[in-house]
């Protein structure tokens, strides 16, 4: 059976998360892909056919128009399922399609199986799929049954390896029938913003502070340690809600997801919504005055005690170790 995958790309290269979506799709059937523009990006795609929507009006992202183009390919190919990466755009385009065709959409799936029980004849015969999907930003999983002839599924980022391989897909270019209503919501302008310092999402080390830091000024000692380690400074939601740090520093379910080599959690209790943002770290060091804090059940190392004494001591030790 054919599974249609929406593939995102940028600067001639296919998006890593779309390659992960391709791996997911392959667990279900033979993938064909659709791209909006980007015929030059297809050689990393090990699939038979790439449908490429070409229209200058789509140079700027327009979710409704993308959904229309995807709908055209669906009508042509008659896939058994449609898959996209669980990115902002992937989820958005599938939701538009779901709304237009009144179909269920399972967002951020990590696994899928076709049911072959008496209840469902298997996806081949238009039966049912069972998916595992992410809830609470990854702190909880759900097994769910999708009741649909055409299941729409997005794939949770980093749940699966990227599909690797070379391919020479047949490129089928088409001019999608895009109408004005599809273009009503379209990027009108892109404003460049240069962010100073090390980006939280990409930092190798993150020094993060929670309520235990005590105040905006209290972050001074974290900044100092971070500067020595070329680290980014992060924080918990309590800190942003109190106005001690901007929301761009927040780590967690409703903040940034980080994946450094070392995450240092200072005065952070370890609520599930915070862990959702830092569990991608290779190692977590917790500095907390409470030896029973939940963060200890998610950390690799811990120092128990007052962070206002411990953090400067680590900074001093690092300086000492580095001086000749």
């Amino acid at each position: 059976m054919t599974v249609l995958v929406l593939v995102e790309h940028d600067g001639g290269a296919v998006d890593e998360l779309s390659l992960q979506a391709l791996t997911f799709a392959r667990s279900l059937g033979e993938p064909e892909v659709m791209l909006v523009g980007g015929a030059d990006a297809v050689e990393r795609l090990d699939v038979a056919t790439a449908h490429v929507a070409e229209d200058e009006r789509l140079a700027l992202y327009a979710p409704g128009a993308w959904a229309s183009a995807l709908g055209e390919v669906i009508d042509r190919v008659a896939p058994a399922a449609v898959v996209a990466a669980g990115t902002n755009r992937g989820n958005e385009v599938l939701a538009h399609l779901a709304a237009r065709r009144d179909l269920p959409l399972a967002a951020n799936c990590t696994a899928v199986v076709a049911e072959n029980s008496a209840g469902g004849a298997g996806a081949e015969g238009g039966g049912l799929l069972t998916v595992t999907r992410v809830r609470w930003g990854g702190s909880l999983l759900e097994e769910a049954r999708v009741h649909s002839q055409l299941p729409l599924l997005s794939v949770a980022p980093h749940a699966l390896p990227a599909a690797v391989g070379e391919g020479a897909p047949a490129v089928e270019r088409f001019a999608p029938a895009v109408d004005d209503a599809d273009l009503l919501v379209r990027v009108a302008e892109h404003v460049d913003e240069v962010t100073a310092g090390i980006s939280l999402a990409e930092a190798k080390v993150v020094v993060s502070g929670g309520r235990g830091v005590g105040s905006a000024d209290g972050f001074g000692i974290l900044e100092e340690l971070a500067a020595l380690l070329d680290a980014a400074v992060g924080c918990s939601r309590v800190v942003t809600s109190a106005g001690w740090r901007p929301h761009t520093d927040q780590v967690g379910q409703t903040g940034t997801k980080v994946s450094p080599d070392l995450y240092i959690a200072c005065g952070i209790s370890g609520a599930t919504q915070h862990i959702a943002g830092c569990k991608g770290a290779k190692k977590i060091l917790a500095i907390n005055s409470d030896a029973e804090a939940p963060i200890l059940a998610n950390a690799d190392y811990a120092v128990i005690g007052d962070l206002t004494a411990i953090v400067p001591a680590i900074t001093a030790e690092l300086r000492k170790a580095r001086s000749p």
């Binding site: 269920p104 702190s139 759900e142 009108a188 892109h190 120092v303 030790e317």
Partner: protein, 254 residues
């Protein structure tokens, strides 16, 4: 402006996810509840727009009777009235949720005029379906812009900003429109005590819609593996600093 904000009551899960015996829900007996942060910011955004342009804010939730608590929180920061759709003690799938919201909006609009703006969170905190706002927008034939980190309204148009790699994408759409917002679009205010008292007097209407069968049918919840490791204690207080630096060296980050 007439604004509608849709919010969902969710548990404050704390440090560990614990399920009920039937694996259908989180064990919430010992937990507090709140509104998802995205939606909290949605309410704040609506309050700011009405402070600027005048108007009225209605807050809508589909949930248990106790969700009145969350509606009252929004009334305390400036919303005017609430509507509570009773979920009958069961979770509704996103299609059913959107349909119930659409029916309520249509009734409201027939009685009191169009909503200029309907505000959602980008995704619900607990189920994260990423779709209810978009479904509602389609059913009402309105434009929808998602994931906003900035919003302003002028001359019947909404200027909507998203944070993307390298900067911001801007969309401009005519009202009436639907938007979904993200935490960080603003810093929500805390309600004052007099405002909390006033909120008790504001009207909350109750409706009991019929729950259709789920097309995204929850079978069971699963706590992912990996929770519950135990940290190696490097020491107590500042004396642990050398051990910490040693670990940093081993990890190659010092």
């Amino acid at each position: 402006m007439r604004i509608l904000v849709c919010v969902k009551r969710v548990p404050l899960t704390g440090g560990k996810m614990v399920l009920t015996a039937d694996e259908q829900a989180l064990e919430t007996r010992h937990l507090g509840f709140t509104i998802s942060p995205h939606e909290e910011c949605g309410v704040e955004e609506a309050v700011r727009l009405v402070e600027h342009h005048g108007g009225e804010i209605t807050v809508l939730t589909l949930g248990p009777p106790e969700a009145e608590e969350q509606i009252r929180e929004t009334l305390a920061i400036g919303a005017d009235r609430g509507i509570l759709l009773a979920d009958g003690g069961e979770e509704w799938d996103p299609q059913a949720t959107a349909a119930a919201i659409v029916t309520t909006i249509e009734t409201e609009q027939a009685a009191g005029g169009e909503f200029d703006l309907i505000v959602f969170g980008n995704e619900s905190a607990d189920s994260g379906n990423y779709q209810v706002g978009i479904r509602v927008a389609h059913a009402l034939s309105r434009p929808v812009v998602t994931g906003l980190k900035g919003l302003s309204v002028e001359d019947g148009r909404a200027r909507c900003e998203q944070e993307v790699a390298g900067g911001r994408d801007v969309y401009v759409v005519p009202l009436p429109a639907v938007v979904t917002v993200l935490e960080g679009i603003n810093l929500p205010r805390y309600p004052s005590v007099p405002a909390k008292l006033r909120a008790r007097q504001k009207p909350v209407e109750r409706i009991s819609p019929e729950r259709p069968s789920a097309r995204l049918e929850k079978l069971r919840l699963v706590v992912p593996p990996g929770q519950g490791k135990q940290a190696e204690i490097l020491g107590q207080g500042p004396d642990a600093a050398p051990a910490v630096v040693e670990v940093m060296r081993e990890l190659g980050v010092a």
